[in-house]
Symmetry: D2
Subunit: 474 residues, 4 copies
């Protein structure tokens, strides 16, 4: 999970808790368990009901927080955020939660997702005098909330959300309450838990297991939830909702011990491997998975085909930012960075290499080559999801067709390019069947846009390009 080897990046995780004496520490552990969703920055804002105070920093959760700065945060209520951000979207100013002060009170905001009309909104806000310190669309949302004429914070938030489009799982903290909201398509996961008398909220349920909380329920698409000293209240903020949970959360992003809408990620992935096994017909000696995210699918694939599962690839766990990267020279001499083949396992064998997805194809090509150099006689690449042909506008860092190998090439061409003996993708139907959310409506309540081009929301084709240049998503 940690610092994964894909060119595919989730862009954030949020956590929040209201009414627990160890709120800040618990948020810290919660962010730990969401670390795989964002390794570029982390922050926590906490309140004791009187004021909001925050700590933010670039790097991993462990880089940003220490005993003494955590101890400086007040109170029983907190929200936290982990952030992904490429080179041009980086910078401390983009690390969330963003914190705003005004004479009428403070407000902190953390968001996972992407507002697809953020640039238009930003231009309008600028015309009205707003100024921006970050390139994050979360700051746009904060302006909309603050400018709303309503009195109650929840009404301000609802008013603001009526203007934005896209994917968002939102946590907002004031001196009085914790407000959470999920976009009308429920594109990103967001769940509620309970630890003692305190409610908490997390992008993934794995955080609940770590902190000893019990799972309460998932947040519904278009739902706004207010948590304060009185308890938890829910209100819909949108009447036209339609579940379209990101399929890649099941396929790749989430941790295997998380559940999304009642379905365990490891189980879903194992099923993806099983259905994939049924869709292909390969004669091979061993099945191996690309760690860490494809292990479950590989095990399922092996179970169904009867071909033994083996650890044919090992991930080198160079942790932290301090790792010294090998020079180009050393890399050419064979110094490996992220994966090593297990020679004894693959030597002289026909290998099925199960992976969860192909983005640019460069990683797949490198792994196939590595396996062949280690002695594999054949390498059959089996992908536990369909070809990814379309950019994502909902928070995944694949924003143009150019970056997607499957957008420009047939499966046969891709097989040639990556140097495999065969290449098979799971069908869209197979994927939906394997995840198993039948009865949830269209596409089983999943978003399949990156595979099929059927986007669950409007999109703005002409603004996509400049948009990409100017704004980051969070």
């Amino acid at each position: 999970m940690f610092a994964d080897i894909k060119g595919l990046n989730e862009e954030c995780g949020v956590f929040g808790i209201w009414g627990h004496p160890d709120a800040v520490q618990i948020t810290y552990y919660g962010l730990h368990s969401l670390q795989h969703r964002g390794q570029e920055g982390a922050g926590i804002v906490a309140t004791d009901g009187n004021s909001l105070k925050g700590i933010r920093g670039e790097g991993l959760v462990n880089d940003v927080f220490n005993k003494s700065n955590l101890a400086s945060l007040p109170g029983q209520n907190a929200i936290g955020h982990v952030k992904y951000g490429g080179a041009d979207k980086g910078g401390l100013e983009n690390v969330q939660p963003l914190l705003f002060h005004s004479s009428s009170g403070s407000l902190a905001l953390a968001q996972n997702g992407n507002l697809i009309n953020a640039l238009d909104l930003k231009h309008q806000l600028e015309m009205q005098g707003s100024i921006f310190q970050s390139t994050s669309d979360t700051e746009v949302l904060a302006h909309l909330i603050k400018r709303s004429g309503y009195l109650a914070t929840k009404d301000k938030v609802k008013n603001a959300l009526s203007m934005v489009k896209g994917a968002y799982a939102l946590a907002l903290l004031t001196e009085e309450e914790l407000i959470i909201a999920l976009d009308p398509n429920g594109l990103r996961p967001l769940s509620i838990g309970r630890i003692g008398d305190a409610y908490c909220v997390s992008s993934e349920t794995c955080a609940f297991d770590l902190i000893g909380a019990e799972f309460v329920r998932d947040v519904e698409p278009g739902e706004l939830i207010i948590i304060n000293d009185e308890g938890l209240y829910s209100e819909p903020f949108s009447l036209s909702t339609s579940s379209a949970m990101c399929s890649m959360e099941y396929v790749y992003f989430s941790r295997p011990d998380s559940d999304i809408q009642g379905i365990n990620i490891h189980t879903a992935r194992k099923n993806l491997g099983k259905v994939l096994a049924k869709e292909v017909n390969i004669d091979a000696d061993v099945v191996t998975g690309v760690p860490d995210s494809s292990i479950s699918a590989a095990i399922g694939f092996a179970e169904t085909t009867g071909i033994p599962y083996e650890i044919g690839l090992i991930k080198n766990r160079y942790v932290g930012r301090t790792f010294i990267k090998p020079s180009q020279e050393l890399r050419e001499q064979g110094v490996k960075m992220k994966l090593s083949p297990v020679r004894k396992v693959v030597e002289g064998k026909r290998v099925v290499m199960v992976d969860d997805s192909i983005v640019r194809g460069t990683t797949s090509k490198r792994i196939v080559k590595m396996l062949k150099e280690a002695g594999a006689t054949e390498v059959h690449v089996c992908i536990s999801s369909p070809p990814m042909k379309h950019p994502c506008f909902y928070g995944i860092d694949v924003s143009s067709h150019e970056e997607l190998m499957a957008s420009a090439h047939s499966v046969d061409e891709m097989c040639d390019i990556i140097g495999a003996d065969s290449l098979t993708f799971l069908s869209v139907e197979g994927m939906l069947e394997a995840i198993g959310r039948k009865g949830y409506g269209k596409n089983c309540g999943q978003c399949t846009a990156c595979f099929t081009g059927e986007y669950p929301t409007e999109i703005y084709p002409d603004t996509l390009l400049p948009y990409e240049k100017e704004m980051s998503r969070s």
Copy 2:
């Protein structure tokens, strides 16, 4: 592997290379791949043929080294070391390689293993005027080498080794040569590789894969090898050798992608699981392994029994020393440190939990409880090695019977204590069969002392206790 959850600790890894322009960087990568063998300290000493210079520090490889201090090390030749060390054996002075200067030249020494007569030797040396800055037995060995009357370094080393008893895989660096040696029982792994024209040596072969070296051969018991600008020369330093490779290297310590004496660790572990599966008869719904070291055995177990393998336990990867540990209070509230159960996978299921060994039993007890609280209806614990009843004097941190649950309790009692529905250990014969080194002599050339009490070397029962208090092993 990283910061594993056992109360069982390997105590070091060594790496060396002679004659490569990037010797220091390669040693750094080599130590990375040996990080699982010691997380308490790391060091590199390098030479350009004129002088030896070293860097040592406490912590992980990435904590100790950075671009600028690595760049300050000279030359084409280097040795490195990663170290384990408990509270009382810690301290910078015990971090290796130790480096000594004299008018006749410098000498650096790194060792994996444990000299069982170190204390006696130390007392004798003190009588003769030696003084000691560390509690490491490597310093004892250095004194013996330096005091030897022979002229050539290799003869000094052979002279010194004739006096020591125990387990050791040794790397010694001078301005002129790299000398490596393995004890007459070959209790610790040590292998030779080649990268370009340069020879390298490593505690485990996984380092070779990472740095792009090819495996040449394992070092033989009682073999001393000199590597210098002329090439590689081997000499036996002991005539009475008898292979007794530590079985726990296969069972637990080594990385799955390493090979020891031609046998891949992952494969050996999977076989341990398969043979274990044949020795028991359990009716269950899922098989799960305790990460990371028991995954291979669990997969083998599942393959043989036909019970599906599932990811039922997830390791929380809190990396580095900066992680803030939960308070006792939070731990009681359920904040988990190292492992979380995957509720959806184990809920309502009869679970086979495969683990590689039981030391004190406290971890096993905790995991069984965790699985049951997560809804497992039955938990059957299957251990892929025999009961560990006897202390190890060869470099594993289990030095008294008191620390070993199996030393004082029957299997049934142990089962009760850990709260499992059944508890099964692999038989010694099953273990040796599964590892598969038939034809290597007694015990298939393995050391089984911790299971059987048959120690391959003399031991000194009356000195064990004070010894333990005073000396650390490396």
Copy 3:
């Protein structure tokens, strides 16, 4: 200068440069020489004409910047800032320069001073939809600039400055230009220098000496200066200007090697000591100064009286934030923090202790006690400025009468409280004469508000208190 011992804090220094290939490094050195003006935070924003990029952090210049983060800043143009900030005004969000992005370009702002109507302006801006991330009045100014209807940045700035009142020395950076401005009373120092073809600007001229720049001229009260690739242009933005340079810049804040309006600080201070010597009549054996800021005055005092100057007090240079403060217990046992007396120098002597000012009186009391315990038979305290009776609203951290000893006590009472044998203050006239800016109009063009209560601008008595609670100055 560094981490001085007074309870009196200057609140910032600004530096800027346009058109030099090493702009970022030079700004770094410039901030070093301004370090005494603010030790709580530092930042640099730079531009290559295409975009603005910044680094900010809490702590000293050396804590915030390193080779690699400096190297990441682009271009030939930069501004920088060092910041003071008490406990409640701290936080990374208050570290300057503040950086704002919009579709029409970016803008960075750094300011030394204090806007006395910032709270009123903030309330009005909030009513119009502005939201604030810091408690700094520099953010208020940024909003005013961005909201201005004018097209050119310089006109926006002039428009914004027409609304603010108080003290400010301002540096503003865009992709196209560096704009600097000084309030109509010129309350804070700001000077222009030239290094090669590049213009630079600094709160103090000592930065020019360090970076090898030549002094060009001081910025005039009410002057706005635009520096871009074409050169340097000046425009007045206020017609009613009247020089009122902060007297405490001469007395205490500035570095001895800086010149303000042509007058060297060391020379001014030595003169303060000389004039003070003429105003008193003390029979004593030695003169000593409280380091570092009172040394010059003490030397002047000694020169005029003929009493020998001696080093009777030594400053302990505990540098950085990592210094471990002594426990209360150790402090009571006599462990000293910041000053030690030189026993041999003061023992059995009648000592004149020259200091530049008395704020709360606690430091003076401690030093007198220290000198007496070291054997001084008499301690005559001579202050090289008049009694400080009135709060400052222009950027010095003395904001209420309560904090000022001289506000509630007569000189005789003060003498009793601090335990001195006599206490003398310089007269206001003596101070103005010593500084020597005759012919500059009222009060010789100096602000004497903290001594006389004659504030050079309007003040808002009823808003002072809430203001203080809510806003910080920069």
Copy 4:
């Protein structure tokens, strides 16, 4: 004092305390006040009577120690050390106190000075089997102590000291006692203080003032002192003693608030300036001193001549190792590193620049140039010590004639080279008179070897060169 600008380095300070509950913290503060004697490394070893534990590190006292590592040190007794060490004498292994463990107890050793027969002793020890981890002669001394046949530690120390020659101020800690010793010529300062019931020892008395201890007395040449729970005992270990205190301690090394043998350093330096003023006849406008060490002499010079003293040079306090040095390019453009002239003070003036010594002459040349570029019409360099013509073998880092400008050039030639209008040195007689230790025997009990070549001990001309190569002093 801190990181001074000379090419002249003192090589260590020692501190020790026995029987104080806050021994470790007090040692930390003590080392702070000795920081000017060594900025390359620091260490503390402490004991609670049961075991010795130490922390050592490279860098400043504040770099090495923090709250948590200090808290990990046990007990009421401690010794500490700050170390200077050039490039080839550096490395963690040379940082003191050195700590040795043996079955008969532990021993820690810290030393200021230089053993001139260390290399010969080392060769002999190697012949007898000793091995060395550092290049420090303190390790040689430790071997001699440990090898001594005597039973009591104090007798072992006396036995060892009977073999060494040179300069040393020594602190040795065991579980039972703190032993201190000073060489028979008393070449280095070492004083005893008392804080409550605890005795402490320090290289300089300034530490006593800081920690609230009272001065008891100086350690005598050839005296060994044992401090333990019973009290303080003194024994001479040498019968032929003769005071020869290093004159440069008065002239340059020690802190102005320290006293050596009853004479305050600031007072001595002021006297050096006064006597120097009587020896020359210069017509000038201002006197300035090179900070920090020459300020006292300059003030004395000014007082005697009547020429006003001014701050004509300012030291730039770039603290810590993290300071980013200007590139050669920037340095040529005028970016200054350590000193800046105060233009307004020297412009158009005839300047007397008082400095304490000239070593290589390069610094003097640079400062003269700087003053002239800042407008000084004449620069008269007055040195408050005689020409330094001979190397020091007692702990000052000037070990060959080549490094000493005065060794190869007449005063007139030196004046030409440094570009001054005149150059004057204080006479040897003037220096001794100014320091004022009349009645202390030859040379007033001072070592004047670096000026006169009269070394107070034997020296070993033929071993000097190789010695220098191999050994460092401490």
